[in-house]
């Protein structure tokens, strides 16, 4: 079984393979023998190339000597196996033999009418090496893909879309009789990653309720009103509606007034009717409507710290 390669090892193996390949294909013919040896060495040792060639060499049986003998006859037409794996292995064996036998390329060229080194080297490169290098490059690229995990992704967020922590709270307005219902929303919003504002947890003993509520709404991007049978548009609730409307006028699209009505027999306060309101049958439906109406969204998915 092939050993695992790190991403850096994959990148390095590809770089070495491409360098050896391009040196062989494009450097001066006076250095051809040297680059041929180096290329064949890379084919024998490069971990990515081995992943391609090793299984094929074990599987495919081709007679490179017989092929070379036939190809060396003057005027003979070159003929390669129709099956691509066989062709790749045949070309590889011919190239490997050329690295061991310094006269092979010359003989191959003579057989094809090339009588000078400046002719037989390009001929061998074009007819034998380049098709091999092209096919091998494609397969090595696939091997590199297989050996590399999917790319991770991050987001680059424009500054204009990054709010201050002091403007992303979610103000939960309610009658004290509805506290159990609103606490369920508070907990769900917290777990989802939002920052809800609820009077009890946010107000130390002795706080001025009016000021605390005002500050809570000022630090929020949404005010959520829970309309149940208990709801009455009076006193603190009336003040919270007024504060929310003030914020809406000041912040525009960056502030949402959201009304969730649990009892559709109860009228929506008239001041809230121009804004988002929806009848909900249960908490899940209400939570869904609430999150959809918020002017903020949470970030990309990531693993929890405790599992990595």
């Amino acid at each position: 079984m092939a050993t695992e390669l790190s991403k850096d090892e994959v990148v390095d193996a590809l770089r070495v393979f491409k360098t050896r390949r391009d040196n062989l294909l494009h450097e001066d013919e006076s250095t051809f023998d040297h680059h041929l040896e180096r290329f064949v060495e890379a084919c024998r040792t490069n971990p990515l190339v081995r992943r391609v060639l090793a299984p094929l060499e074990a599987k495919v049986d081709v007679d490179a000597d017989a092929w070379l003998q036939a190809a060396g006859e003057r005027g003979a037409k070159l003929s390669f196996p129709a099956e691509s794996d066989q062709e790749l292995v045949l070309r590889y064996r011919v190239i490997a033999k050329a690295a061991e036998d310094e006269n092979l390329v010359r003989r191959f060229g003579f057989g094809r009418g090339a009588h000078k080194m400046s002719e037989w080297v390009p001929l061998f490169l074009s007819l034998i090496v380049r098709p091999f290098a092209e096919d091998l490059s494609h397969r090595v690229g696939e091997a590199a893909n297989m050996a590399t995990p999917e790319a991770r992704a991050v987001q680059a967020v424009p500054y204009s879309r990054i709010p201050s922590p002091k403007e992303v709270r979610i103000f939960l307005s309610h009658k004290s009789e509805d506290k159990p219902l609103v606490l369920r929303y508070y907990d769900a919003l917290k777990v989802a990653g939002f920052d809800p504002w609820l009077d009890k947890p946010e107000m130390p003993a002795g706080s001025n309720l009016e000021r605390a509520v005002l500050r809570g709404i000022e630090e929020s991007c949404a005010a959520v009103f829970f309309v149940t049978e208990n709801f009455k548009d009076e006193r603190y609730l009336a003040a919270e509606i007024d504060y929310a409307i003030m914020q809406k006028r000041e912040k525009g699209e960056k502030f949402a007034i959201i009304t969730l009505r649990y009892a559709n027999t109860v009228p929506i306060p008239r001041l809230l009717t121009p804004y988002i309101f929806t009848d909900v049958a249960n908490d899940l439906e209400g939570f869904n409507e609430l999150v959809r109406a918020l002017p903020i969204e949470l970030g990309p998915v990531r693993w929890k710290a405790r599992v990595v």
Binding site: H26, A151, Q155, P158, Y159, S160
Partner: protein, 200 residues
């Protein structure tokens, strides 16, 4: 499989020559670039215009070196500017190519344009000299036979493959993506539109 074609050149005497070249992208269809200022590599999604302009530069260079008529690319698409995600250097996308890409385009320009053009020039020269000239009074008549032997073209260059490395960065400002080195988060502005951004 048949023998590999030695020469797929178009006729270099045509006023317009259409080149077809294949550039391999990584698994996620990103193309590797290098900043001409800091030298660091990143990847973007690519357009054919990037390569057309970069190829034109190489066509001019190899034409100068070989002493053949220079070629200019007929490309309608405007040049786009990119900003380096590491050093914020701004440059035309056609200037943000890796040494590997530049070498590939240079070899391509040499093989597909300059060498065929040079071969043709030499063949024309040989033909004209081979015809000889007859001199008039006061001139010496010299006849020289010249034969141009066309040498084989070098192999066509191969581009890639490219490793599927780096981390994807999604710019929410213009809904475009790039790839940068693992661990790099100090991307001050969008590579495409220059909007100031923060990586989260």
């Amino acid at each position: 499989m048949a023998e590999d074609d030695q020469d797929e050149n178009q006729d270099p005497t045509d006023e317009q020559i259409r080149f077809s070249l294949t550039i391999s992208l990584d698994r996620d269809s990103y193309f590797r670039r290098a900043c001409p200022s800091c030298g660091l590599e990143f990847k973007t999604e690519s357009t054919p215009a990037d390569f057309a302009w970069a190829l034109e530069l190489q066509l001019r260079r190899v034409s100068d070196e070989m002493g053949v008529d220079p070629a200019s690319v007929v490309e309608e698409a405007p040049k786009a500017a990119l900003r380096c995600p590491y050093c914020q250097h701004a440059a035309e996308s056609s200037d943000m190519h890796t040494a590997e890409t530049v070498a590939f385009l240079r070899r391509f320009a040499m093989r597909e344009y300059a060498l065929p053009k040079l071969h043709k020039m030499l063949a024309d020269f040989a033909e004209s000299m081979g015809r000889g000239r007859s001199g008039g009074g006061g001139f010496i008549s010299v006849s020289i036979s010249v034969k141009h032997e066309r040498s084989p073209l070098p192999p066509r260059p191969i581009y890639g493959p490219d490793a599927p490395d780096m981390v994807t960065v999604h710019f929410l400002c213009c809904d475009k993506k790039i790839k940068v080195a693992e661990g790099w988060t100090d991307i001050g502005s969008c590579t495409y539109c220059g909007t100031q951004v923060s990586v989260v």
